[in-house]
């Protein structure tokens, strides 16, 4: 395997992932529309994947466990988005809204 030398410390990748993750948290906490909440969740999943791939590339490049993990994260994200959108469509059809704060029957 050919090595590409670069001078970026591992911490910078982890910091980028931390920033993306907290932006995703902000989106999940503030957005009212379920589809936009889902987009923020995607941001958080991507932040986790960056962590995995960065650790794999710096710590154990001969095993690429992190890359395999990221592939599975993407697979599960695809399944999750499909299911979540089906549920959102069903909620919209029954309630006429996709805003999560208006679907609060279980809240007392």
């Amino acid at each position: 395997m050919e090595a590409v030398t670069q001078q970026i410390p591992l911490e910078h990748f982890l910091a980028l992932s931390a920033i993306l993750f907290s932006l995703g948290i902000y989106g999940v906490l503030t957005r009212r529309n379920a589809v936009l909440i889902l987009m923020s969740v995607e941001l958080m999943l991507n932040a986790a994947s960056i962590n995995m791939v960065a650790f794999a590339a710096y710590a154990s490049p001969e095993l690429f466990t992190g890359m395999i993990f990221a592939i599975f994260i993407i697979t599960v994200a695809a399944a999750e988005v499909g299911l979540a959108l089906a549920i959102i469509l069903r909620v919209y059809r029954n309630r006429g809204t996709a805003n999560v704060d208006e679907v609060s029957d279980l809240k007392w």
């Binding site: 932006l23 529309n33 960056i50 710096y58």
Partner: protein, 166 residues
């Protein structure tokens, strides 16, 4: 500064800008387009980390399929672009929480001792090595992933389809 560093900071700025657009955009469709920008930037990060396959998968599945699905959902639920309906009233608290979490994560990341980051070389992952690992060492999780996708597909159809008399 080396070329790799310049490219990394450019890509990181694009990713953070795209993520800011996703959480702050007034128009839901713009948020989805910003999400594409952020996901493509993350694909660039994967290339910098030496795994082209992951970058390809990211562009095809995330930036391609998943965002198109999200745009379809926006269209089918007729999400309006009225500015005030997009964000909840608790946003100042959310700013505090996410900044605290982000600050904590960054402090932890920069003060910790990570193993194996001494030489700063990235090994390029070849497609055939990744494929061989996926089909030998990780064959069982791979098959389970196909089952997960199948069940999610069937579940999505069952949940979303119109029933008789509805």
């Amino acid at each position: 500064m080396t070329v790799a560093q310049i490219i990394f900071y450019l890509i990181a700025a694009l990713a953070v800008g795209g993520a800011l657009g996703v959480v702050l955009a007034r128009n839901a469709v713009y948020a989805a387009l910003f999400l594409i920008l952020a996901l493509l930037a993350v694909a660039g990060v994967y290339i910098l980390l030496g795994s082209e396959f992951l970058a390809l998968v990211q562009v095809l599945i995330y930036a391609g399929a998943i965002t198109v699905l999200l745009l379809f959902a926006l269209m089918l639920t007729r999400t309006t672009d009225v500015a005030e309906s997009m964000t909840g009233a608790q946003w100042p608290l959310a700013v505090v929480v996410s900044m605290l979490l982000g600050g904590l994560l960054i402090v932890t990341v920069t003060t910790s001792d990570w193993p194996g980051d001494a030489d700063g070389t990235i090994t390029r992952i070849l497609f055939e090595d990744l494929g061989a690992a996926l089909f030998t060492q990780w064959a069982v999780p791979f098959e389970i992933a196909s089952l997960v996708l199948f069940v999610a597909l069937v579940g999505a159809i069952v949940i979303a389809r119109e029933e008789e008399g509805e």
